[in-house]
Amino acid sequence: MNAPNHTGLPEIIKKHETDLLADWLKEQTALATRQQVSLKEGELKSQCSEFLRLLRKGTQGNNPDISTPEWAEMRELLTSVSRSRAQQGFTPTQTATFVFSFKKSLFIRLRKEFANNADALADETWTATNLLDELGLFTTEMFQKTREEVILRQQQGLLELSTPVVMLWEGILALPLIGILDSARTELVMQSLLQKIVETGASVAIIDITGVPTVDTLVAQHLLKTVTAARLMGADCFISGIRPQIAQTIVHLGVNLGDITTKANLKDALALAMKQSGLTVVNTKKLKEMAA
């Protein structure tokens, strides 16, 4: 069957806008009760009337391909509907319902409008179904993307939690890194170290990589950049716990750790940090023994 050259949809939407909106809202509220989700009434109403306006605008262009510029505003609206529903914990079906639930109200109108013209009714229904299916699918797609974003953000949050910056002594911070470092994680961790330096006013920071199995070029470069950035801010940064294999890799990769202070382990790095900060530790028991 051929789609008509000119669909009557824009006129029908225009003519029955108020009724369509009222029916559709009622339909959605009923569905929402059945699906046990709560919709914000004001928000829903404005989303629906915006949808009707854009549907009319889009169908006027007579171009059923919703990826074209004529449908840009519609895509934006559906993206924001999907986003807000995904954030409120809706399922993909409940999200797509926003579009699909409109079919019933529209088809009732179409049937009344074309009561005496079976061909036209078939054509218009066909056009409308195709279009609404496309728009509904687009909503699900956007829903999926938003969920992926949320998951990504949660992963990042976990990463930040997994590498706490600790204060070893007044003015001395340590960042004990454990596990595999990829370049994204290293970058994030380094940013939080620099932020902590500002917050605490610590003038020495120790990055301890004892718990890191391997280091690649990018990670080594991030370490290097962090030490340089810390220096620009006015803090010293040491690296401790470089294991023999990692030392070999670093040399092998041609990364120049030139001016960076490295120590075999965290203990030695702390000793140096304390010395630099003018701090000494005294064994008071031994002192007493000597005095006795």
């Binding site: 380094m190 003038s203 950035a229 006015g234």
Partner: protein
Amino acid sequence: MERIPILRMGDFLLVTIQVDMHDRLAMTLQDDLTRQIVASNSRGVLIDISSLEMIDSFIGRMLSNISLMSNVLAAQTVVVGMQPAVAITLVELGMSMPGVRTALNVEKGMMLLRECLDSDDSEVEDDAS
């Protein structure tokens, strides 16, 4: 003409940069500072950049130049308060400003200046003895 104020604090000069400087303003500051070091016989310069939200190669070069020139004039310069985002960006840009002394804040910068001067003075005494 618009100028960035230079404060005199005893032996030291203090500059707090708070505006987004256009290039000529940065050049003027460089000139003014070198002149002031000589005029007031200063031993140290503190440049507080904690309110600067961005440093590009031009401003970076100005900070390096001020450090070098003050050295020639027997004074020390300490740049204080660079924000983490600014520091990371500068490193990415390719400027590590190797000759520039830095400190976390004005107070620490002041301490660093005093230390530098003390060690300079003791060297002079050593030479004399």
